[in-house]
Symmetry: C2
Subunit: 695 residues, 2 copies
């Protein structure tokens, strides 16, 4: 089967049309403030009105933990994927009750249980603050001063906006530095679990079927947002389509794609290919193997590790797909040609050459600096050497008290005033921390640190304190009290003095590591990030002037609108229809002898006779999506929910670098399957009625 995948991939790329950054076909993760009106009009005769756009935007929800969702009732009901909700499910579960595995169904409002640390964001307004940012970062500043000025103005804009509006305010960098937009979000932090199916149907086919097609997954989960202990009243929510979609129908996806690299220069892409992706994959694989070893030792171990293990397996596949793209001349050559063309056009015009001609070599210079500090930045500042919640908490506490002592304009971006509430929500989360799991994670990552930085490195030796990574990890976790939220709060209140005088070994470690970690971050911020922002700003401007503004920026885990058609594709000469059916799930299970992860849950097996086996289950479309879009609603022209994004196929993984509609497909749960399952498998009539506006 995997051969099929390999060959399929090969054939697909042979046909790839790299239409990078040109809005042909159904390409694009468009800004809501700059939608692809013209293409929609011309290709589909659809008029994207301001009212339509506003309605869809305000009905869309971002899961701060990394995912998308939507309001689907006036009573605050939120729909997302099971795998987006899994983090919350895992934290609500216990060794006796594994909610990820068995699911949950609140039959009445009072059974809706409050999640531990979920934050949802709704994008209320968008303001272009590019001019403000650029005015603060004057052209004659050297990089360190420019970086300082940029950080100051971004922190300040956010703080002022928060004070003015009371809304979460984020300055978002678009086009890698070409534009700066201020996004204001309404936040919901009282989020309660309403419904989740069993993992065996939500993630039917498991890791083997992940990123594959055909699929048969009920990857759905419902939450409800509350305000003042009552279901929030929601003005903008999506109504449920009674019809579902038709083949070739135009659909839209409103969600938060995480990160793409389509506009990177070739030098930058090659650095991703040679360093960033391989190192990340090595690290992901070792974490996956380590967690899996832990999980397989027992049932409770498996429950504790489950959500994190899925994340690594998922990311590993996605990264591998991306790396295959970077290593593929069929992807890279057209991108090289496009860059050559743009640079030629800039060179040919004296004014453009003067303003933007140096940008590409400026990126290259920044990449050279990056290469030199990459490992250290990855290990220390990104914390890969210390893979435990407890270290993240220790460092979070330390930096929070340190940064709060500074004027807002001088703080590290993530400790700026405007974001402090969200930060505290994480830092003081009551989510359980399991010392056995934390110990094996930390042991493995300390080993990774020793391997990558060298066993004889001065700081490595200080960190290890004369012990092996395994022994040191055991000491650190066993000795730390930071799993206790009360201890954390006390330390935060006690400030730097409390941290310095604490004998908590994890706090001591954070104190030891912080100066070198900040030092390497300073190099990164000043000599990599800042010059890149400036250079990419120039490249974006050059592109606007040569290619026009009918374009979209790379994904930044902020709200975007994608569109496309429900459409099957051909694979190895075989036509794959756009839909699977509920009956197909039973057949797929039988083909794998009903072995895990191809075993349907008892609830489905028992209700098989009741189900309409011809109900569409999952469908594919040409919409341009990527990781982060999980849980995005799929809506029709009328703005009704017709589906729920939960995956892309293998061929879609290269979308990180270039769009294609040949075989790359977004995979959704069909709205009809959701209703069918709610009514016939789960007896969730109340919920189904709420979705369809019957109550």
């Amino acid at each position: 089967m995997t051969q099929t995948r390999t060959l399929r991939f090969a054939l697909f790329l042979g046909l790839l049309v790299s239409s990078m950054n040109r809005a042909s076909s159904d390409e694009g993760m468009w800004l809501f403030e700059h939608p692809p009106r013209q293409v929609l009009k011309e290709r589909y005769g659809f008029d994207a009105t301001d009212a339509w756009l506003e309605h869809v935007r305000l009905s869309s929800v971002r899961f701060n933990s990394g995912g998308s969702g939507s309001f689907v009732s006036a009573e605050g009901l939120v729909m997302t994927n099971h795998h987006v909700g899994a983090d919350a499910l895992q934290k609500l579960g216990t060794s006796e009750r594994d909610l990820v595995a068995i699911g949950y169904h609140a039959k009445s409002r009072d059974q809706e249980v409050k999640c531990v640390d979920v934050e949802l964001n709704v994008l209320m307004s968008i303001e272009d603050v590019t001019a403000k940012v650029q005015a603060a970062v004057k052209g004659d500043l050297d990089p360190p001063a420019a970086q300082k000025a940029r950080q100051a103005v971004m922190n300040t804009i956010e703080e002022e906006s928060l004070k003015q509006t009371g809304l979460r305010s984020d300055v978002v960098t678009l086009y890698q530095g070409g534009l700066y937009h201020l996004y204001r979000y309404k936040k919901y932090t009282d989020v309660r679990l309403v419904f989740a199916p069993e993992k065996d149907i939500a993630f039917f086919g498991g890791d083997p079927d992940n990123f594959e097609y055909p699929r048969y997954d009920l990857d759905v989960c419902f939450f409800r947002v509350y305000e003042n202990d009552k279901p929030a009243k929601i003005e903008h929510y999506l109504t449920w389509s009674t019809q579902g979609v038709a083949d070739q129908e135009l659909i839209f996806v409103s969600g938060n794609p995480g990160k793409t690299d389509r506009l990177n220069t070739m030098v930058h892409l090659r650095f991703l290919r040679d360093k960033v992706f391989p190192l990340s994959l090595d690290n992901i694989r070792r974490r996956e193997v380590n967690l899996r070893s832990f999980a397989e030792r027992g049932i409770e171990n498996a429950r504790r590790a489950e959500d994190e293990l899925f994340a690594y397996q998922n990311t590993r596949k996605a990264r591998l797909g991306g790396l295959e793209g970077l290593q593929n001349p069929l992807v890279m050559k057209p991108k090289q040609a496009a860059e050559d063309e743009l640079r030629k056009a800039v060179s040919a015009d004296e004014q453009l050459r003067g303003e933007y001609g140096q940008a590409w070599s400026e990126v290259e210079k920044a990449v050279d600096v990056w290469r030199g500090v990459y490992d250290e930045h990855y290990l220390l500042e990104r914390g890969m050497a210390f893979n435990t919640e407890l270290f993240q908490i220790a460092r979070g506490l330390l930096r929070m008290v340190e940064e709060k002592g500074k004027p807002n304009s001088e703080r590290l971006r993530e400790y700026a005033e405007a974001g402090l509430d969200s930060l505290k929500q994480q830092l003081f989360s009551e989510a359980p921390i399991y010392s056995d799991l934390e110990t094996i994670k930390l042991a493995d990552s300390l080993g990774f640190y020793m391997e990558l930085a060298g066993a004889d490195d001065e700081l490595v030796m200080q960190v290890m304190d004369g012990k092996s990574p395994t022994d040191r990890a055991a000491d650190l976790v066993a000795g730390s009290k930071l799993a206790d939220v009360a201890v954390r709060r006390k330390i935060a209140e006690g400030g730097l003095a409390a941290i310095r005088s604490s004998d908590d070994p994890m706090l001591k470690l954070a104190l030891l590591v912080d100066p070198p970690s900040r030092a390497v971050r300073k190099i990164y911020d000043e000599k990599v990030d800042e010059p890149m922002r400036q250079a990419y700003g120039k490249i974006a401007q050059a592109r606007f002037r040569i290619e026009g503004q009918n374009t979209y920026p790379d994904a930044t885990f902020t709200l975007r609108l994608a569109f496309g058609q429900v459409r099957g594709y051909s694979d190895m000469g075989k036509k794959l229809p756009p839909w699977t059916t509920i009956g197909g799930a039973f057949e797929h299970s039988a083909a794998h002898a009903h072995k895990e992860p191809f075993e349907l849950p008892a609830s489905w097996r028992e209700r098989k006779d009741k189900l309409d086996l011809n109900t569409p289950f999952n469908f594919v479309s040409t919409a341009d999506i990527i990781g982060g879009n999980s849980g995005s609603p799929v809506v029709n022209r009328a703005g009704e929910v017709v589906g729920l994004i939960f995956d892309g196929n293998i061929e879609s993984l290269v979308l990180d670098f270039a769009y294609s509609d040949e075989k790359a497909r977004a995979t959704s749960v069909d709205c009809r399957a959701i209703l069918e399952a709610l009514r016939k498998v789960y007896d969730a009539q109340t919920l189904a009625d709420e979705l369809t506006g019957k109550n």
Copy 2:
């Protein structure tokens, strides 16, 4: 549970007595020609007579594929582990009949099925040829000339011995170059499968329980060697103990430990710690993850990948245990102290200093050269860039015809005359080759190559031929005809001309890669291996003169005698008895809700009532073993079989670098459990009678 493991490991090492290379306690993987008579006499009052030693040696069998075994009847019956036999089982299996999973039982001789490519070796004689080798490698030769002379004399000794005796003849390097012994083996290549249990009991507990204790595994497999199409008549075989062992009883292990690194210099060990082990682990993890992804896609995929997947999981754990030792000051500091002491003693004596004083810096110099060529040697010459049977075959054919054109004394060691038959047994093996499996293996390893050598490397680009690793792998596997043994034979007959004119893409790849591969091997052979042999030869001599000869060399996958006591140990304050019982297996299964890999096979569940649940199942002992010992017989003073080595505990993994009897234990199947299962679960009365001499 893994926390338990972590803490256990920590406590254990706190108590570690590094008795490196001094025959205290039960330490040692002793040469049969230099047994630890004195220790055995003093500690256990046992007199290891020449007759006893000869009998045990001639009853011992080496599986050329990597494992140990023993003759257990006069009719050629051979006992080993299920996991040693698994390679043969996998090759005999089909998609309809997965022999690894379901086991096999030949109820009569005519049901004994011939294995595809198994070679067994029995060590018939040992001759010290150190003087002969050293005489050929004169002191004034430069390293390239010395390497050439050494290769020539070793090839020649082997060829002469083969001609003289007709026996497989291997010159074995002991003490990393201190001694050279000529081992002569009787070979058996008609090896037939007699009995294997189901994998679910042979490897009960699976990867999670591997290297753990307590264990409950029937990791046994029986073969029979044939000569002239009849069961071979065996003079020396081990009789079966009717009593089994008692607690504290002296036992012996006769088998082929693969590789230890106890005598390496500290510089050499640090190179293992910083480069060799981490890179190997990264590669193993990626292969494991890749194979597992493949295996989980379907039942037949799983069968095809099973044996190889186990090998990676097993090696990953073993390497990780080794690396933890190298990264642990509690292991490394005593080793450093021992080296300092030896060097001090050498320095203190003028004559010793003159003869041996430079040896340590010579090793260091060789390690420096090694570091510079390590990746290239690993990727090309060790073939890590081309992980497919098909490439191994292509290169094997190419080199065989090339080397056969040279005088024997000039050939690469593995193509020397004496080994050609064994080589052909592999090269023309009828074992099935699955193109789907080979494609995903090759794709991943080509990606590894591109990452490690660099995508812009000249040879990498030539190898990829303008394609991505995935596409290139698909082309290479789909285009090659080498899965067909007849094609291979034809090419071997056609010689170099046939290879050069072939359009088989795998042969073309082998031709492309061979010159640079040979070039880096030349550097390794001349500037790393040869100087190290010379330097380690000096260190060994220095050690003999200062510490005496009462010692043993590092493991070399040749026959060794270990000894020890049946003995439990304490773990986290809990006493672990030396035995588990058959009843314990049923309890262990229940504790894991009977979930795979903790589900006992139907045969055991059905016969539970018939079994004596108090029968000892697995036991631990202090014998000094390591990977390669799998399948070794455990014998008592009388030379009777009392058990079968199949594993070591986690704490034993550090034995690669230093022995300890505090918690490190070898794990065996008890001979009583084997009989109980044969008689009561498998109705294998004939086989049980043959073992116990009743027929």
